[in-house]
């Protein structure tokens, strides 16, 4: 395991006519080689912006990475890279697949050309060679009859196939990091299962680190090694997948976990749903961002920002409930209450 990426105090703002929207507000994390890290949260919590900032894909000057932020890729400062180095960095070192495979492929180019394009640009190889390699990539992502599919246009493929082509393009230059931004949201359940399986196979085969961005905790259970739950531009809880799923500590994580329906629940049962909406990111926040929607909010939650408390080496939570003086609460998150209670009493 080698440290690929280290992000410190990342802050991203968008300058709009109504004011500065602070989408990411001080995010720290590290990524090791070969591991899968998941960003989970509702729309607008800053997970995609964080991912885009890693690739420097934010539109400047509209989107701005604030001073004091630090993104280090294998010892190199990403924020200081010049245009030429960035060109190489994107694609060779880090690649991204987007949510919507319908709109992120070029409709006027064949799939084969789109894969060859990045190969020719990044690997500096000839057309013939690139074509052979592109066919190899299509085979790798399990596209049947790759020679024929090379000359297909995106509209001739189904949604799942298009997403496979996207994966092939992203992985064509063997990047160390693959960012998958909601890779399965636009797809059917069966196809979603196929794509997730493909990602987990490729991860082992190519030893790529994956950053998985999603709003659905169900999707990450199988794939993720570590999970970071984001809310209003902050990481509110992070830990190994088993820690976040079996011993969640933040009320927001409880809420996310309970809104995924389990198969054990009966029909016509009321599902848990989180009230209210995330805070307006234009406003400054000097207290816990989740306090307004939290059922356990105390006075302190509306006055000061909670510190990150470490429960184990990897499991950390930003919540005032972790404070030694805080009352013990029973989470409403039904399924794992017993397991959780044991943990609380030992803390």
């Amino acid at each position: 395991m080698e440290k690929l990426l280290s992000v410190k105090n990342l802050r991203v703002s968008f300058n709009t006519y109504v004011g500065e929207v602070r989408a990411v507000r001080g995010v720290d994390f590290e990524l090791q080689s070969g591991e899968t890290l998941a960003f989970v949260g509702e729309s607008g919590c800053g997970k995609t912006v964080t991912a885009k900032a890693l690739m420097r894909l934010l539109q400047e000057p509209f989107g701005e990475i604030k001073e004091g932020s630090e993104i280090i890729y294998q010892g190199e400062d990403v924020l200081a890279m010049d245009k030429k180095r960035l060109q190489r960095y994107r694609g060779n070192d880090i690649a991204m697949i987007f949510q919507d495979p319908m709109t992120s492929l070029n409709p006027t180019m064949t799939c084969g050309k789109q894969i060859m394009e990045s190969l020719i640009l990044h690997k500096k190889i000839g057309k013939e060679e690139a074509r052979a390699e592109a066919i190899e990539m299509l085979r790798l992502v399990d596209i049947p009859d790759p020679e024929k599919r090379m000359d297909s246009y995106p509209h001739q493929l189904s949604g799942g196939m298009r997403q496979r082509v996207m994966v092939a393009i992203a992985l064509s230059c063997q990047p160390k990091i693959l960012i998958a931004d909601e890779p399965t949201t636009a797809l059917d359940v069966t196809i979603q299962a196929q794509i997730l399986e493909l990602l987990s196979e490729l991860k082992d085969k190519l030893d790529t680190a994956i950053i998985l961005v999603t709003h659905d905790l169900g999707v990450v259970a199988n794939l993720a090694d570590r999970i970071q739950v984001m809310y209003a531009g902050h990481i509110v809880e992070r830990g190994q997948a088993s820690e976040v799923f079996y011993n969640p500590q933040h009320p927001y994580t409880w809420a996310l976990l309970s809104s995924v329906p389990t198969l054990a629940q009966g029909a016509k049962q009321e599902l848990y749903s989180l009230k209210g909406t995330p805070p307006d990111l234009i406003l400054p926040l000097n207290h816990c961002p989740f306090a307004a929607r939290c059922e356990y909010a105390m006075t302190i939650c509306r006055q000061a920002m909670p510190e990150e408390t470490g429960l184990s080496d990897s499991h950390r939570v930003s919540c005032w409930l972790q404070h030694p003086l805080a009352p013990e609460v029973k989470p409403f998150y039904g399924r794992e209450v017993t397991r959780h209670d044991k943990q609380v009493s030992t803390n």
Binding site: M161, A241, S259, V260
Partner: protein, 333 residues
């Protein structure tokens, strides 16, 4: 419930087909589908994209003319040409909520105008009455009065979908086709909308046809679930039974694809992998349409089209081998 003036089944569909004719080929989007929905109940319709579930819902609402078959609504056959008056009454009674809350609201109309559009067509209300009705509808779907004068772009996805629901409710319908109302939303918002739909159903005794590809959410709202594959209904059962004892291999594959928020369970369970993709509806396989991807297909499946048989009371399945497979399918989930 049974009452002479009110038939138990609000909606009954018999051998409904909808074909789209192209220059040289025919797309059999809905092929010989039959089902019924009792008053006040919800039928969930699930299947992969392109299986004809949306077309089925739209044909049912007479948004597309049916190619053949019968739609019986509230005891009356509404399939053929209706008089203007009958058609208007049908359209008032049967409403729809669309999938994409972003493109189904007119960006140039205020929320109040969107919601009141149907009221103008079907009722003769005074200005004041209309205003009160809109306020009441917005309150019913959990929006405040302030939203009335806003435009769609000022709203979040969940709020927009609430407006879509308010619009459908505006003409006091009995039946609503919910066409993937939650697919475009975040998981946490999906739960809100499903809860809202369940509450409104109880309050107003609505009947739903709930179309979705997400089986786990469908289960929460549906009394019965129908599974479609390439235009045909392959299984129809009460929702709990469908989850516990699926009889069709396709249903069990769909169920096994649902991700669960439990890493241990995810890592240990065996997924049923369906080879390949859904064949084209222009040229469906002979016999059982699912046979090209079915792990249990035999020669008979290619030769004979399976009929939708009642396996148990209320549980229908279209598979030649359901009796032999009954034990094997439930375990994978």
């Amino acid at each position: 419930m049974t009452n002479k003036s009110q038939p138990t089944n609000l909606v009954e569909v018999k051998n409904l087909s909808k074909f789209f004719y192209q220059r040289r080929s025919v797309v059999k989007a809905v092929d010989d589908v039959s089902f019924y929905i009792p008053r006040g109940e919800t039928l969930g319709l699930v299947g992969e994209s392109g299986c004809g579930k949306t077309t089925c819902g739209r044909t049912l609402l007479k948004l597309y003319p049916a190619t053949s078959g019968q739609i019986i609504y509230d005891g009356k056959d509404v399939t053929g040409n209706l008089s203007r008056r009958e058609l208007k009454a049908f359209k008032k009674s049967a409403q729809v909520i669309f999938q994409d809350p972003y493109s189904s609201l007119d960006p140039r109309m205020t929320i109040a105008e969107i919601v009141a559009e149907g009221i103008d067509v079907h009722f003769t209300y005074s200005h004041k009455q209309k205003h009160d009705k809109v306020t009441e509808l917005l309150a019913a779907v959990g929006l405040t009065e302030e939203f009335a004068n806003r435009f769609a772009h000022e709203l979040s996805g969940g709020q927009r979908q609430r407006v879509g629901i308010a619009r459908a409710l505006a003409v006091d319908p009995d039946f609503i086709v919910c066409d993937e109302p939650i697919s475009a939303l975040d998981v946490s918002i999906q739960a809100q909308i499903v809860n809202l739909l369940i509450r409104l159903q109880k309050e107003r005794n609505l009947t739903y046809l709930f179309i979705s590809h997400d089986l786990s959410m469908v289960k929460h709202i549906s009394d019965r679930i129908g599974v479609m594959y390439l235009g045909s209904l392959v299984e129809l059962a009460p929702s709990l039974e469908m989850f516990e004892k699926p009889l069709h291999p396709y249903t069990s594959a769909l169920l096994s694809a649902i991700p669960s928020a439990d890493p241990e369970h995810e890592r240990t369970r065996e997924r049923i992998r369906l080879p390949g993709e859904v064949p084209s509806a222009m040229d469906p396989p002979s016999g059982c349409k699912f046979r090209t991807r079915c792990h249990y297909a035999i020669d008979r499946c290619a030769a004979e089209v399976p009929t939708l048989d009642e396996a148990k009371s209320g549980h229908f399945v279209a598979c030649h081998r359901w009796k032999e497979l009954a034990g094997a399918l439930g375990e994978a989930i």
